[in-house]
């Protein structure tokens, strides 16, 4: 019997809400099966079993928000349960689901309150004294102002003493300035941590994309749209290839030391309509042919746009690529996504004059940058790593 725990969901997420139990007690599970879905700031994340066996029972009810590492279910490994219809005792230890709180804000990030919160409409003039009431409620000006801003009803406090600021809850109850969205908070937390902890250094160069674009164009010429490649898959594959030769850019820096990763799980920064971005991984981006990688990229983008991805994809990128696509600007220098140690940025391709063999020629080029972690590597190796990505892109047929 082993525990199935809430997996790590990336550096910026500490908990998640169990929203789907996709396997019933007694059902078989196989390593890699999606057996639960968890709601996070970044959308619904599917969680996979990590071993074969049978689901014994759920330990966390639907709707419960629990920290990473919390046991969610018990998995019985080996033989099927002898008596599959053991009546499920109602487990008294399991607390009922907490009441639904539509409050996405994490407690550790204060809601962003503008310095001058917009004043709620002037508090209605104090209601005319009710004739015959014994005395008038006395309220300090500060308390009255806060009540006006937050919509708090002062009459709820009674009138037997002076109402001071401390009596009025500061939590806005109505017309509150909008707190940061959960997605924006997650990005803010991860990026602030990155800038606080990671001593970034930056390098840049120009990629000649002529060969890569010609390769894509000739590959796609006779293919129906759903089989066509985007140049992004070349960027991902070239980065994965280079990362294997330069392990100090591919892995995790955690607890004061760096662990290189044997596999290259290349995170792809994907913009979300309506704001925000996520950078889930194309796992094992060195494996399979380019067609397979493209299919996986399409599938990933599709699922991300629907707000649904697998826990491993979010938690396990070992390096990230951020590409501005064909409608961006010349260059982007990324912020490393902790605990990763490098991010490659690729600008929008365009025409530029280049000198090749003494001749001035027009070539398709893009700016490429590397932001890397000085705790793990230096500019000299960084430059070689970046050069390696560029070199791989000069031989697209070998990718």
């Amino acid at each position: 019997m082993s525990q199935f725990v809430m997996p790590s969901l990336g550096a910026d997420m500490e908990d998640g809400t169990l929203v789907e139990q996709l396997v019933a007690p007694g059902d078989p599970v196989q390593r890699g099966d999606v057996i639960a879905a968890v709601e996070t700031q970044k959308g619904a994340i599917e969680i996979e079993a990590f071993e074969d066996g049978f689901l014994d029972r759920w330990l966390v009810p639907l709707g419960a928000k629990v920290p990473v590492g919390t046991p969610l279910a018990m998995i019985r490994t080996g033989d099927p349960p002898a008596t599959p219809d053991i009546p499920q005792p109602k487990d008294p230890a399991v607390p009922p689901p907490p009441p639904e709180t539509p409050q996405p804000a994490e407690p550790d990030l204060p809601p962003a309150v503008p310095e001058d919160p917009p004043l709620a409409p002037e508090p209605p003039a104090p209601p005319p004294e009710k004739m015959g009431t014994s005395h008038r409620q006395r309220v300090t000006p500060a308390a009255r102002r806060r009540a006006a801003q937050t919509g708090f009803d002062l009459s709820a406090l009674g009138g037997d003493r002076v109402i001071s600021l401390d009596d009025v809850p500061s939590a806005p109850t109505a017309d509150a300035p909008k707190p940061l969205s959960a997605m924006r908070q997650a990005i803010a937390a991860a990026m602030a941590r990155s800038k606080r902890e990671i001593p970034h250094y930056y390098l840049s160069d120009t990629i000649d994309l002529t060969a890569a674009e010609a390769f894509i164009a000739s590959r796609n010429a006779d293919l129906p749209p759903d089989a066509r490649l985007l140049i992004a898959v070349l960027f991902i594959r070239a980065t994965a290839r280079a990362a294997q030769s330069f392990p100090e850019f591919n892995g995790y820096f955690e607890e004061e030391h760096f662990s290189p990763s044997a596999a290259a799980h290349v995170g792809m920064a994907i913009n979300l309509r309506g704001g925000g971005l996520v950078a889930p991984a194309l796992l094992d981006a060195n494996e399979g042919n380019l067609e397979t990688l493209m299919m996986r990229l399409r599938d990933l983008v599709m699922r991300v746009r629907k707000g649904r991805f697998k826990a491993r994809e979010l938690a396990e990128p070992t390096i990230t690529v951020t590409s501005l696509g064909d409608r961006g600007v010349a260059g982007i220098t990324g912020v490393i996504f902790p605990p990763q140690v490098a991010i490659v940025g690729i600008g929008t391709p365009g025409w530029q004059p280049m000198v090749i063999d003494g001749q001035l020629v027009a070539r398709r080029v893009a700016n490429i940058t590397l932001a890397a972690d000085h705790r793990v590597s230096d500019g000299h190796r960084g430059a070689r790593f970046l050069r390696s990505i560029i070199d791989h892109l000069q031989q697209p047929e070998a990718l």
């Binding site: 129906p224 759903d226 985007l230 990229l297 696509g325």
Partner: protein
């Protein structure tokens, strides 16, 4: 399929890709990708869906004719039999 059907199909497909962009706010002569804020993956998704529905291959070498809503509509109309 007549011009009106093609236009309706385009609006429907674009609505799935860019549900947040009301069709009546876009300039039909401007770059489709800017108007609907779609990236190369979205554009490929659009071309895939339209090509399947209309039985067209829509090769990459023709992409330049598909840059605006009007251009794409004209392209589809002239290729659909």
């Amino acid at each position: 399929m007549n011009d009106k059907d093609i236009r309706a199909l385009m609006i429907r497909q674009l609505g799935q890709i860019a549900p947040d962009v009301p069709f009546d706010t876009v300039d039909p002569d401007a770059d489709l990708r800017d108007e609907f804020d779609i990236d190369s993956m979205d554009f490929l998704t659009l071309i895939t869906a339209l090509g399947k529905e209309l039985g067209l291959s829509m090769p990459e070498t023709d992409y330049d004719q598909m840059r605006s809503f009007v251009g794409l509509q004209r392209y589809l109309s002239s290729h659909v039999t």
